[in-house]
Symmetry: D2
Subunit: 492 residues, 4 copies
């Protein structure tokens, strides 16, 4: 997930967060650190843990990877208590500010409250302006803080009631984990856009963005939290409710299909589907929809591997690691001189010439955003002697921005927004180019086809059909700042 | 001001803050960094600057000395604008948290607002509890944030009016510098307990805790801000008002006399008095009040030097640097083994044996808090061969805690609270012991005597007569926490 | 290549070094940094570059990855000149000392001389003792320094002659790159145990441990340096000679076969063989030698992938990523409490349950040293529901230590030294266990069979038949120290 | 001793090193760290300690202050043994290289040997060239390494004999502390130019550059090591010899008189004279030689204080701290813009206006090298309103470079080399200017006058009469490099 200075980024969309929570284990913060480690792919810029020991809350938040921030026994020892929640954060435009690192913590009139959020609220800005007008002081530039202010101002009695009242005001995608005096709370927004699962480790309860975070600590998977569900975990066990629907029941889910395509770890299960299996099935679907006569199926590493295996199995064309990735690529390297840039330095990838030369190659990648990296990879494969290069993408064209917690470039930068598939193929220099169709994607997911009236998944980035209304985006002029302050960016 | 692990601290009271502000200079943040550097003795744990360029605010706050945090051109370049305010902070009990570093900044409904505070509010806790109850979220544990919340909730129209409304609610000692859209504001509390001066550098206006911060940038001293005065500096020049008094006039001042004794830099002028000269005069007064037949007057370095010179001149006894200080003593050093501790290691001071041996020595120090360092110094001077050792202290006995912005030990730890002067002399091991009298101190300041009805200075630490009521202290049980959160202490 | 605190290391042998050199390019040091980056897998503890601009030498050596040490333009700018040599180092027992980081540099009577070495000398200790007796002062504990001292004491006229004289005294494995006034020198030991290749980038000449370091800068591969060959590259082009053989010709090579099995990068070519292809062929050979009826072939990531693909293709059993690796595993993490350790935390690997459950699984790994990691992986796969687990290793049993530049545990720690194949299978808990045979390995390499009289490869770690005599090992008692000094280990 | 970026350095000559050694104490390395701390003024760039426990040597060397490098108990615990030697280093031109930090350590044929050196050899370069020619490899660019190479090549039997043989070859100033198997050795060069004292702490023996390093650990001063004396301290106590003189006796000493003027700490005794007392006596001598009618005597802080006190006492003019120094001035600060530089920013010093205005001021400083700082100080005092400013310098004009271990600018940069005293006075802008005379200086030292035939002190920097011949300086062209290598400067 590192940026390659020679190619200008890894050309992927990025998940913005991972969340984790534990109730009822004496090593709650250590388990949370491990859980965040397993969720590291969901956010690499910063991490935080807040724990609770029945009397006090304990917090540590830091820039960098989980290992760096929470690797020392001393830090974990300071985070006392049987309850802990944690958060991984991916930096979005505007810089990484320490005060933006989650979990948020607030001293409310009824006691301490800590909150971690995966997703994005689509009317946070609008509410924030109103709150500031009435005298609320915001400490972060994060949309999540709106929830805590609404709770602080609520006249409801209990914490849960205040949280429900606050969430009824906000719109968007949210999978939340929260901790206060006598409970650990998990909530998924009414459409269930972002993931959240429930696990068990002995008598302890776990909440996590993905099942791989249960696996790392040997916890059992219990079930997915449902769309619109709130679970309150305390000494009396788990209480479930659906406070946002009209009838107190679960909504039909609109889970983010891109989690299957790229964001989630291949060993995770989401909504009862194996991510790895879904990727293979998309690859197989792609092989059927866009067959090609070729000698080799080569994944663009590392994310293209499962769909390439699926494509190879379905097509009968041999699978080969035709592109080798250097796993030591760090965040920064020599700012190249013009002459060196001209060499077309291959910091991150190298073609496996022995297998490429003279062959017809099918490249399989999961998605294509700006196309810059793909151009370089195609060129590298051609220089290694490939006779033909065919690109197959295991998602439909990414033509619309996401407003539900994914870091997407502006629509103008999305290649699929401004070019047809054929033009994209020419732009990146391949002999043939194909994406999986939207219905092919739904078939891979086990559906017969996409239901245009009520799509089974959130696929707005492909179709432009947004599950939740985009209040801020519609109301506000571009560039309206949340804060008037430019803080010096912390060193990461 | 460093802590000596072998003696257990420098046994002094400590000023908690220095403030600085500039309006109307293109190098505002560089000047502020220099000003904070000159005020470094008022706070060494953290420093911050917020600047304003007419459109945006820019902030940097960091642990450590001003040089470390603001020494790079890159940091200063980021702090754009013609207006800047800065703050030095001395860490008090409870740890140094980045979120407590000032200036505070808030996005209020009318725009950005930045505030730096020297002093301490005596009813902040009481107000805070009420604000939290009504839905305010506090980000720091600092008392200063109360002012900003009161402003956010004010229904007054202008910024100045909101600030006045807020300040009318709070009690205590405060010298404030604030910046917002169209002005730089300076305020001194109704008793003028902490210092604040006005300066001029070409067309630019300067506010600073001490005149030495004007000198470093070559600015001219204009005048002290008066007790209870607010100055609003903008494009129309300076507007002065007295919004807290009954009649819009300045109150009689109760300026902190300890600024003259120890806190301020000797080259500063405060309320038209030279600090260095006041120290010499106290020394002279002490020589008259408590004369002694001796061979040498030796200052306890470095703060005892001016009063020792004054004592020597008045008594005719020669002044000598009989104790040499090692200026390289850092914050940490080898944790001594028992055997090494037993050696009585002299990390910081060494007796100048050539001059001490066989002599009758008068040691002059400015104050004595716990007495631990004094004991060691007296012992060191005796080991160097002194025939007699007499201690003279250029302040009255420190017997009461300060609640107006000075870091004081609890009353129980103050030596003068539990011992008579004679007992103190025995405890530290001298042949004679004397403090200047309270009237002697006032005489040195140019007064005939202390006016018990309306003392000319705040001298509560000596007399227990507090200028402003101690609401929090009186209302609250000890140990009531402002926040329920224990955050990991930042590394300094 | 990171150490997993929960499994006790990655249970692999490790290459100790990578070398790189450039002659005749104005960006010599930038190219060297890039080359070292591509060779990062050959040594992650430290890196160094020495450059030469015709008048002076310039050096920078630092602990850590190449990116960290050489990522800034400022460092590269300081390393001036048209010639540069570089070195990656893997820390061996005894700690990482800055003075041991290569390239070595010495001011000899004829001028400066810089040297980088991949390999290990087997009589360095014996020669060193003799040199110290005669007055030589050693600055490092590295065996390489012996070569420079022998050169310093040589009475031969030219640098090349002195180097030849020195190398005739030493025994062992060495691929050297050296720089002095008027040439870049490359040497491979008489048996050609460690790799060294020659490349060309425009008019510039390149020397590198592997071809992947040519690829990264877009240089063309020219040829392997031959066993016993010395190339001297200067303004007159390349001069080749064979100064160590009896007849000035190349020796029959005994190239390290483990480079193909694990050390080298899969995209490199060595002695005209594709490393990736060799790995696939060993996998295929293994499938023929040790067939098994199963549902899935699963590589132990990442190094087992190519041989698993070969095994899958030859056996017709589907290839699946049944074990997912977390690429964020850092060097340190929470020191686990007993309770957490008991959980069997999976920091680095997770089973892909969707594909494992109920299946007969063939695990393919490249080698097995102590067996600790393998046990945990087998256990993890079983817990994920595998019906059967079969282990196939794409190398013969590793039963002997290497003395030619590979970091091997002592013989006692090698599992294959103390157990039969069947016992190993029981120990790690599999249903069946097989290694490729030594002749199978040779067949994969394209040989008919191993020639026991004059083996075509160095395979001492499998056979115990050492190519070069082990003078130090035979002469010296274990534990004889090279230096009497314990230096504080530098922080990496 | 920090550099002020606004004034261009502190305009002083600098001692290059301090040395310390302990024999026979279980806390040898902790005592050494404390001793080095007391000697910090003799070198702030780097520090090192080598200890010996009877079997092994242990070393740690690092850039920065002693507190930073040796402040942790962990470092001290690693430096085991009853014997330790230490070294403080002041960086000279050419950068601070880690490999140059002392003590040097070498594995010689008879065992380990560690050496720390205060001083400078005047024929090191000449010997080094000869050694390199014969095959010696140098690891540092320090002159001290020559001694160790000469020992390595010596055919003498014992360590002491080898050291004597080596020292008979070298010329220059050296106070050495060395450690090997069965002894701690101290040596002072035949002229005793640099200081070295012997102390006792219980049964342990101490060697140190100054007595203040004995005081810090409570050790007793025994005596100065004599000119040309070698002491060998071992289990049999102390053996003293004079191996360099013709007759085995001490030479007449030529101790560096500048140690009294500026280098040494005022609380140290050197050759039975109190440094503080000598400074006062020079001040008194100066008052007699160059009297002036004035209102105040003001020291240039901090080094001018003792001579100013002496001047004040002798002249009867009151002593005042008319210039206040900011002790927080760090190594770096804002690179000033032209406009800010123009302000004449006073980072380090400020005039005490209350006492200066309208007064005739005598400034007393210990020495004047380039005059840059003096100009600024005179200007600052005039701006503070002084009616007259008179400069008195408590040393004769510094007109010649030192080659005996002091960091001196080139002769061309010395103000006194190119200007008369009157011209210097005009240049720095004073009303009158005077230096103490060379005979006045000798009188202050207790001599009747300087003996031109055999001066009682080394005063070459004033007189140009060098005690030891300057072989390298006479033989070699300027700019001959010791090494052909430019190593990247370590970060300090």
């Amino acid at each position: 997930m590192m940026t390659d200075p020679f190619t200008g980024g890894d050309d992927k969309l990025h998940e913005e967060c991972g969340v984790f929570g534990v109730w009822g284990h004496k090593d709650a913060s250590a388990l949370t650190a491990l859980g965040l480690h397993a969720l590291q792919h969901r956010g690499q810029e910063a991490a935080g843990i807040v724990s609770f020991d029945g009397a006090h809350f304990y917090a540590h938040r830091a820039l960098g990877l989980v290992d760096q921030a929470f690797g020392s026994g001393e830090v974990i020892a300071m985070l006392k208590g049987h309850c802990a929640i944690g958060h991984n954060r991916y930096a979005t435009t505007g810089g990484t500010l320490v005060r933006n690192i989650q979990p948020l913590y607030a001293d409310l009139s009824f006691g301490g409250f800590a909150l971690a959020h995966n997703g994005n609220l689509t009317n946070a800005h609008t509410i924030r302006q109103e709150l500031v007008k009435n005298g609320s002081l915001f400490q972060s530039t994060s949309d999540t803080e709106v929830i805590v202010h609404l709770m602080a101002l609520s006249k409801a009695k209990g914490v849960t009631e205040r949280l429900i009242e606050a969430l009824r005001r906000v719109k968007g995608a949210y999978s939340l984990v929260a901790a206060h005096d006598n409970s650990l709370i998990g909530v998924r927004d009414p459409f269930g856009i972002r993931p959240l699962v429930l696990g068990k480790l002995g008598d302890a309860h776990i909440l996590a963005s993905e099942t791989c975070a249960l696996d790392i600590i040997g916890a059992d998977f219990v079930r997915d939290i449902k769309a619109g569900e709130m679970v309150v975990i305390g000494t009396n066990g788990i209480e479930s409710s659906f406070p946002f629907g009209q009838d107190g029941k679960a909504n039909p889910s609109r889970f983010c299909v891109f989690e299957y395509i790229y964001f989630a770890r291949p060993d995770s299960f989401m909504e009862n589907r194996s991510v790895y299996e879904m990727r293979k099935k998309i690859g197989a679907e792609l092989a059927r929809e866009a067959p090609v006569t070729a000698d080799l199926v080569v994944p663009v590493p590392d994310s293209g591997v499962p769909s390439a295996i699926g494509f190879a199995e379905a097509s009968g064309i041999p699978f080969e690691l035709g592109i080798i990735r250097n796993h030591y690529v760090g965040r920064t390297f020599i700012e190249p001189t013009d002459q060196i840039r001209h060499l077309g330095v291959k910091m991150k990838h190298n073609a496996n010439k022995a297998f490429i030369a003279g062959k017809r190659v099918v490249l399989v990648d999961d998605s294509l955003v700006r196309g810059t990296t793909s151009r370089k990879i195609v060129d590298m494969v051609r220089q290694a002697g490939a006779k033909e290069v065919h690109m197959r993408i295991s998602s439909p064209p990414t033509a619309h921005s996401c407003f539900y917690g994914i870091d997407t470039p502006s629509t103008e930068e999305l290649l699929a927004h401004k070019m047809s598939v054929g033009e994209i193929g020419k732009y990146i220099g391949v002999d043939s180019m194909a994406y999986v169709s939207i219905d092919g994607l739904y078939r891979a997911m086990g559906e017969i086809k996409r239901d245009p009236a009520l799509p089974q998944f959130c696929d707005a980035c492909f179709t432009g059909q947004y599950a939740v209304e985009l209040t801020d985006h519609d109301n506000l002029k571009t560039g309206t700042r949340v804060s008037n302050l430019h803080e010096r960016k912390a060193k990461g």
